[in-house]
Structures are given as structure tokens and as C-alpha cells.
Subunit: 346 residues, 4 copies
């Protein structure tokens, strides 16, 4: 069974594994205060073009979102997010569990706009019973989104500006950041992200690491005492160096972007093949996730050899599926998938 | 300025005040364990037709909703509610503050249906990543709703049945319960409510008391240790007898329903007058809240002498306003309002 | 049965009741934004000698403590308190329920010292794994304490100074503030409290009101958005004017202090009588709570006619009991108690 | 610098690393539902002698404690623990952050007794204002404790019995479980633990794994919906197989106990050498942590070549230090430490 159902099917990039093996019996202090974490921080600061950025390492995505959001908000505040955002729908209410409402906005292809944010804030302020409603306290977006779509630089700048205007920190969930930045359709750089977001994270779990997310922020004020929050939320890995070693490796010789580029290229090969076969898509994605709409019987037959995610029922006879590639997806497997699709669809 | 903007403009019904005055210097034990609370419990059990009901007294509505919901849910569960429900929009995220997501359903005239509840539960269970989403744990509805509308007995029975089927406690917010039960359009009795809801509350704040809500439940299992929760949520009034005295008075000689009936009658007089004048309504309400749609200039002129709530912009030139009556609304004031409306609209 | 078991046995001071009766059918806006609340705020500002103080009204003590503490702390912070403090032991974990640890210090007669606070902060900072422990975020004390004891002005100043030094807001629980300030042993004024505390509250429930606590703060920064927190914690009374009316009355013509003085005088009469009879005390209290140590058989006989609280077992044959007076305690009842004590003890 | 300051200085046991390497590019489903996790569950069930045990894998210790405790308690309940317990002092208030008080009991050498638990429960129930205090809801102990000490089988049985009597789940924190069970002073087996605890966890992070803790429970009722809680608390590792692979390896051919035995033997060699030199100990530990009391100047000189943890100031001239061994501690390093100690102390 060839797996295209998500981007965390395999272990870690071989270079990451080699690094972990090569250092395995070394002794270091714990909790992210070792020299490997220190080195990884410098590598990431350099990649972002800003030596003053704060960098913290956590284990997983839900944990990272929860820790950052709970750290930034005051008790009566909520986080603005797309109604399709990961924190809105796929984290078992972890944000609410820390006491905060997700102020969900209708999203177009997984994205929200600066205008929506501004309107929400103004409506809140104009409400005569505003103190009876949750105060918007920050903005959360995913880059790329849960549908593989991308914010343009102009869209991000507009979000940045509206956030600045209304004093809302802007937090970018970069669980798949590499796959976004490596897309040919992307006009944003890592430096742009580091400049426009108050806090963001660079996803490792889905992009070459065994696990791990690097939280990055330009704002020491917002991040004050953040290590307490990491510990409180169970995200302070005892053997913190494992995170440092992985991110140091991924940010050496451009590895993070190289392997991201591979995943996106393979996804776009699948997309092109499907387009050539006249298959419609649920959404126009330029990253590692593709959402073709296929006849149910084809979906059914394909699923004997390939694992993918049934995403959305379109009508009686059609379903949109999600096909995911990753740094670990092989060209051979993609060829087999394309062959199988062609066989079915021609 | 005559006030029709809410149903808590005045103090308490004169009989309630007399009772508080008459007992003022008596000494009783605190925290709701005095004989007045005991007596009030019996009066409420009798009015509900069930001597085995548990009855607890709390101070206010948001506090009551939060305490009940936090008491009933497990940490990974959320409460199903109308997106227009009070807990969804008007309690500063109090439910989320206790760790739980409000699972908001689209509402029609403030109401949700048994079918919607069933569909939500089945979709949750069918979701391949169900453990990544919030588990529906109970259902919250308001009777009457925030728009003054009413569930029919058949609708409540259907909700009861779907809740029973999926093991979801049904909680009814009765902040304005009297105004619902006293409506000529209502086919439900207090006994029905006590039978169909696992937990509900009888609103005092808006119906004749200075403050106070009586939580009623047929289920000792659900209410186990509820007094701990009342205390933890700051709802255990030191001088608990104040709540007992008020509810005892309200549930003596049918006072609660008599004064509710008055409020509804006055509201329906206003409604009739407006209908006769050809004024359209945002919603068909048969209780103490009415939502007529008026030209903006009339709204503006009326607001010099009358206080009401601008509710919703309809178009460039029209606004829906909320007019509220209560147990304390005088017939004279209603006549003055009707006269003023007639003067404007004829 | 004559009741001395607590200071909330009766309703409210007759002047308070008259005021509520006299205004009962007036119409006002809700949620503490009416002119009675406004007037009460001015009266309190005046009594505190500072027209710039923020004043908010809440319903009860646990609610007030929880709302203030949750509002002031960041998520990784805890509140320093005496291990015998009300928030440590008698609020069903309400503080923990909002996510914060109570950092309990050993107390002497219910009091903690500036030195203890300083030591705790310095130890926290010196701890090599400080981020793995709760950060001290504020200080909570009760004035008078739960044992009726008083901080001297010098002790309060020392606490103020250490709090200032380490940037910890100082919060004073004044549930019985009147009984403290009216004690002959007290060298502190209301103005001193308002100057030394960052936030404090003036207890109404136990001092002449039906219910209600007035939160006072000299710091707009700390209190920013506090009304959201009041609402979120269920403390925003719909008919907020009830709080305004009560505090306006209590702070007119010195009523609050006059009735407090009465309660303390009566308590000290009981104390003197017991001392004259050679009865030892658990603690030297100069306020409305007294803790005499009596032989068990006397405790048992007294409890047929008088209600008081068994406080602490001293040895096989003796028990400390709590005798409480209040604004509502009559001189006659105190005389009856003293007579009964004399009869038993002579 | 040779490190003895904790038991997570190194990576993972070489067999664990080989297993991760050997399976690295295999594709599996995520979130702990893969066949490696399934296999690891069976290995653990077998080692515990009970095929019906539930087994879940989480990433770290604080996360595991928080997730289990928040899952088991109702909102008004607290967890009984030693005042020196990890959850009491070293998890940044993570338990309180989920809303629950830690009911800390005075501990002797890190241990609490069945008698203490029984007394606490009875005192709570006998308290006339019991609903104003936190209800004891479960018991937490560490095996071995944070001081390396062990509960005897009789002590554990007594705790089990008192927990059963008062319906309190017993939860055992086994962060160092291997080091406890492998001690020559231990009269408890893994099967005993699995039988006596309602829930416990087998620590991987400190015993041979890169990271990971295996939660084990005999009670399906207590663990109902536990995977929701894992996800909500950020503990559901995307590449869950990493946990399965590690625990499968550790529980193959007795590896977990073999490497634990090594760590304890080396610790006891150090202990024996120090005892022979007449050095006193803070506490009698039979596991991998030792707490000798040394003159300050020797501590100071040793710390040039060895890393250990200054634990407690004994007097002006002496300090207790913690020396930790682990599965990764080499015999050579222990020899060097013993030589250095001898050189200093003879």
C-alpha cells in the first residue's frame, strides 16, 4: 500500500537520522539549553535574516499552537481564525481548554482577509454590550493553509497592517511552512514571514524531522517568560537537544527548502497529470496537498493500492480526495500513482 | 424616559420586597441551607409536579449557565447550542473560560432542531479523526429563545429523544421561562419542561426577583456534588435565604405566572398595535420581546422619550428594534408607547 | 437559638433596605452603568481620599477574589497567600479552577510577612530550574485575617514595599474590612489601604449589605478591561444598581464605619467578659471574631441556646470556638451570651 | 566534563536507535494507530501479565501527569500528592493550569502513607463546610520517588486499599519505574504495579528511550475517551510509531530491566564507595539517585570535572548533592568519579 494520505508517514530525513545517531552517546544538559539548540537557533536566525529573533523548540503542532496562543492572550480575549483553521476544528478544543474562544471567520479556500479582521474588531468595539462578548486578542493564520493554499505577500502585509493598527499579535502556523515557501506560486520568503508575523513556527514534523516545531518571534515583549509556558504545557522536551540537532541539520546547506521543494514538485506532477486528464479540483493548490474530484468508483478502486484521504462528498457520484506528498515521497511512488490514475481516467 | 430596552429595569415585585423586609432581621444559616430555601424548593417541586426534583439557587444567568455546563461536561466535550444562543455570543466566553467549546449550530429564529443535533453527533462519530475534534457532550437551548420565540412541545420532545438516544444531557436556559410558559402560543407546561430537560433553570432576575435563578434537575446522578461547583464558580450566596425568600414568594399563589402573563399581554398589545399599523416584524414572537422594523427617522424620534434596543440594521432606511416588557412594565407606559407609535406611523 | 456563628446571619442594615424599597420601581440601565453605581463610586472615592480610584461592584467574596486574581496573573504565575488564607482553603479551589496555583506560605495568626514574600521571590529566581516552577505573580492578604487579626501599618507598608520591589501587585481581601478598620487596635485607615494596595475590596456582604463587594484600585493599567472579567466570571449583576444603592447608603454619613464599630465593640465586650473569667484564647483578636478555648461540656451546653462555630480541637477536653458578631448583632443578645458564659464559668 | 546531574543526558539505547534507523523510511499511519504501537502494547501487556490492560503512548512526563490527572478528575476535585511530588513542585503549575488543586501532604523521604490519605478524606467529609473545600479526587505517587526511595509492597497495598475504600483512583508516576523495579531493595514487580495502580506510566525518557512514556491502566471506565485527552493536551505524536518502536524494543528480551539494573548497580557502587569513606547521606536511596552530604570545598573541586546537582544546603560547610546514573552511564565514568571522590575524601 503506497501512502499519500498525509505528510508524516515516514520517519526523518536520512541526514537528520545520521546526526542523531552520530551524537547519540554524547552527554548534554537538558530542556533546550544545550549547544545544539543554541546552534540551531543561530542557523534559523540566519535563515530568517535577523540575528535578534527568539527561537524556541517544541514537540508538536497542537502543543505549539496552544502554548503560543495561551501565552499571548489575556483571559477575556479570543483568537481570530479561519473557521477551517486547524485550531478551529482539529485540535480537540485545545484552545478552549486553555480558556479562550476561537473567533472563527468564514474562510475562502482556507484564508481570511485583513478586511474581515478589521470588520470584526470594529464591530466588537461598536457593540453596546461589547464587554459581554469575547475581545479579539490576536490573529491566527496557517501558511500554507489546511487546503494547501497560500497567502500572497500583499495579503500578508495587509494582515500585518490591520494587526498592527488594532494591536493584535499575528501568529502564523507554519506546520507546512517549507511546502509553502518552496511553491513556485509563492511570492513570500522566510524573511518576510519573520518580519510580518509577531510569532510563527517552522514545522519540522511534516518537513523532514522525526518531530519538532521551531517557534520564532521578533518580539521579546510577547515572548517574555515563554519557557514557563512551554513547561506548563508539557512541551519542554527533557532531551531538548533532539530538537536542536534536527533543526540544525534541516537548516544546514538549505536542506529544509530542498526537501520541501521536492515534495511540492512531486505534488505538482500529480496535479499536472490530473489536469491533463481533465480532472477538476476542489481548490487550486500550489503546494504539497492536492484535492482532485474523482468519480466514486475510481476512488474505490484506487484505494486498494493507495492510501489517501476522502475529503469531501461533492455529489452522489463524486468525491474530493486529498493527496499529500512529503519530503519522503519517492519519485517512483508518484509515477505509480500517476500511472494508476491514467489507467483509470483515460 | 420610559424604558423598554430590557426586562431588568426595575427592582423586584412588591411582594418580594415585602417578604425581604419582613424577614430582614431574622437570623438564619447561610449558603442556601436555611428553611426559606427549603420551603422554596418544595414550592418549585410542587409547581413542577415532581417532589423528587433537585433545586439549587444561584445568583445570575451567566453564572448559572457556566456552572451547570462545566459541571456536566467532561474535559474533551463541548456543548451544542444555537449560534445565537446566549452562551455562544453574550457571556464573554465564560463557557470557553471553563475549558469547553460551544459547538454552535445555525439557528432558525433562535432555535435548533433535533435533526441538527443528531446529524452533528453522527458526523462526529463518523469522522475518521473524531478524537481530534471536540466531542458533543450536551445540548443547550433557551426557552424562550433570545428572540422571544418558542419551541413547541413536539420540538422539545424531539430534542429530548435525540439527547436520550445519544446520551447527551439536555439543558434549558430559562432566564425568561415565565414569559415563555405564559404566552398564549405556548403548548408546553412547567411540568413538561421539568420532564423533558435533564437540567433547566427558572429565571428570577428577569421575572420578578431582584436577582436569582433556580436550577432544577430530575437527575441526581448529573447533579452529584453540584454544590461544590456552585461554590467554585462564585455562585453560593452567603445569605442564601435571599434566594429562597424570593422564589418562595414567586411560587406562592401563582405569582410567577401571573406577573409573567402581565408582561406578555402588554407586549402583545404593542405587537397588535404595530401590526394594525402595518409594521413588519423581524421575527414572529409571542412573548415579552418584540422586534418591529421601523423607518430610521421614526426610531430616532421615538428614542427621545423611550429607551429600546436597536437590534439589527435592515436596509439603508430601516432598523429592527427590540421592545421588551417585563413584570414591572405599567399599562400606562405601554399606552404612552402605543400612542407615540400611532402618532408616528399613521 | 441566638446566632453568633458567622457575620451574615441577618439581611441588610435597615437603611439599606429602605433605600432599596424607596427606589424599587424606578427604571435604570443595567450592569453597573446606572447613576446609583456612579454615585456610590464617588462616595467610595471620597471615603478613600482619592477621586481617581477605579471602583467596580461584584456580588460575593469568592467571586471577587477569583475575578481579581485571574485578571491580574499571567498563565504561568501563582498568587502568594497565607496557608490559612480564604483562597487557600475555603473557595473550593476557585483560584486553581482559573488555572493558577496558590503559593501558600506558613502564616502566624493568619498573617504573612514582607520577609517571607521576599524570600519566596528570591528563592524562585535563584532556582536553577525556576522555569519548572510557578512564578510568583502577586500577593494576597486578608484584612482583617480569617482569624480576626490585623496587619499594622508598618507591616502593610513593608508588604507594599516588597511588592513594589519585585513588581507583584498587592491585593487585599477586605471581606470584613469595616471590622478591621473600626478596631481600637487598628492603626490603618481606609486611605492607607487604598494607597498601599494595588487592588482591594470593601466587603458589603458581611458589613451591612444584603450582598456585594466593592473592588477598588489605584491602577488603571491593572484594571484595564476588568469589566470583561467581571462578566466572564458571572459577577456582572443585571440589576447592578442594587450594588450601587447599597454602597451609596453604606458610605453615606459614615454608616459603614458606625455599624462596623458596633460589631467590634460587642465582640470586645464578649472578649472582656471571657478574659475576666480567666478563659484563654486561641488568638488575640481585636475585631469581630473571637476564639475562646472552652471545656467541651460547656461548649456542649452552650450550643443548646447559641449557635457558634467549633473551630479547633485543643486537647481531649477543650475546644476553641469562634464567636462572631456583626452589624446586626443586638446588645441584648450579647448580654444573654455573656450571662450564659458567666453562669457556666464562674 | 562527566555528567551525573540527571538521567537524560544521552540519546537512546543503541538498540532503540537501530530500530528507528531500520524502519525510518517505512510508511505507517499516524497517531499511535500503527502496527508498531500495537506490538508495543502487546509486549507491555505481557510484561505486566495482563492482556486486558489499556496502553497509550505519550511524549513526556509533565504532559503525561497532566493528561491523566485532568482526565480522571471532576472539576471540583483535587489530586492528593506528596508535597515533594513532581506535580507539586516541578511542573510549572501544569495541574493547576487544568483547573485542579494539588492537595499536598507532608512527605517522609518523598513518600506518603495510606493513613495520611485516609485522614485527609475523613477530615474533608467531616468538615461542616466541606463543599467550600476541594474534594479529594485521586491519589498521585511516584515510584520510585523524586528522592530515589521506594514504596514497599505492603505500603502500596495499603494505598491501594484506602483508595479503593474511598473510590479514589491511584495513579503512579513511573518516570523512573525501571530504576525502582530493578533495585535490590524492591519487593514489588511490574505486575504488582499494574494490579495495584488504577493508572500508571512506564517512563521511557529516563530509561533508554529518546523520549516517551507508556500509560497503562486496568480500568477501561477510567480511560474512556482518553485519546481525546491526549490530543487535547498536545501529547498525540503525529509519528506515533516512534513511541511504539521504542517501547517495543525496550520490552523485547528484557532490555528495559537489564539497562535499569545497570544504572542502579552503578549508583550503588558509588554509594558503597562513599559509605566506605564515611560519607553521610541525606536519604537512604536504593535506586539510581544518591544524595551524599559533602564538605563544600570538595563539592566545589569535584564540580570542575563532574556535573551533578547541588540539592540542599545542610549547614555552613556542607551540601547534599544529587548524583544520578542512567542506562547510559559508563562503568569507566563511574570509576573516574569514585577515584575522584576517594582522592578528595581519604
Amino acid at each position: 500500500m503506497l501512502q499519500f494520505q498525509c505528510d508524516y508517514n515516514e520517519g526523518a530525513h536520512p541526514k537528520v537520522m545520521q546526526r542523531l545517531m552520530g551524537t547519540n552517546m554524547e552527554q548534554t544538559v537538558g530542556y533546550g539549553e544545550d549547544h545544539y539548540c543554541e546552534s540551531a537557533r543561530r542557523h534559523i536566525q540566519e535563515a530568517c535574516g535577523n540575528p535578534n529573533l527568539q527561537v524556541h523548540f517544541l514537540v508538536g503542532g497542537t502543543q505549539t499552537n496552544t502554548t503560543v496562543i495561551a501565552h499571548l492572550l489575556r483571559p477575556h480575549q479570543g483568537v481570530i481564525a479561519a473557521e477551517s483553521g486547524h485550531i478551529s476544528v482539529h485540535e480537540t478544543g485545545a484552545i478552549e481548554h486553555t480558556g479562550h474562544k476561537v473567533l472563527a471567520l468564514p474562510a475562502h479556500e482556507g484564508k481570511i482577509t485583513a478586511e474581515q479582521v478589521g470588520t470584526l474588531v470594529l464591530e466588537h468595539r461598536a457593540d453596546s454590550s461589547f464587554e459581554h462578548t469575547v475581545q479579539p486578542g490576536m490573529v491566527y493564520i496557517s501558511f500554507p493553509t489546511e487546503f494547501g493554499t497560500l497567502y500572497s505577500k500583499a495579503e500578508l502585509e495587509a494582515l500585518h497592517d490591520v494587526c498592527l493598527k488594532y494591536e493584535l499579535p499575528l501568529f502564523i502556523d507554519g506546520a507546512r511552512l517549507g511546502y509553502g515557501l518552496s511553491s513556485p506560486a509563492c511570492d513570500v520568503t522566510l524573511s518576510d514571514i519573520a518580519h510580518l508575523a509577531d510569532v510563527f513556527y517552522i514545522g519540522g514534523t511534516k518537513v523532514g524531522a522525526l518531530f519538532g516545531e521551531a517557534v520564532v518571534s521578533k518580539s521579546p515583549a510577547l515572548m517574555r517568560d515563554f519557557r514557563y509556558s512551554i513547561k506548563q504545557h508539557g512541551g519542554m522536551l527533557a532531551k531538548g537537544r533532539l530538537l536542536g540537532l534536527q533543526f540544525e541539520t534541516l537548516f544546514t546547506d538549505n536542506l529544509y527548502f530542498e526537501i520541501s521543494h521536492h515534495a511540492v514538485s512531486e505534488a505538482l506532477r500529480i496535479k499536472k497529470a490530473l489536469q491533463d486528464l481533465g480532472v477538476p479540483f476542489l481548490m487550486e493548490s500550489h503546494t504539497n496537498q492536492q484535492f482532485p474530484i474523482l468519480p466514486n468508483e475510481i476512488v474505490s478502486r484506487l484505494s486498494k493500492d493507495f492510501l489517501f484521504t476522502p475529503w469531501q462528498r461533492i455529489d452522489e457520484t463524486h468525491t474530493a480526495i486529498r493527496i499529500c506528498t512529503s519530503w519522503g515521497t519517492t519519485t517512483d511512488n508518484v509515477n505509480l500513482l500517476i500511472d494508476a490514475l491514467r489507467k483509470e481516467l483515460i
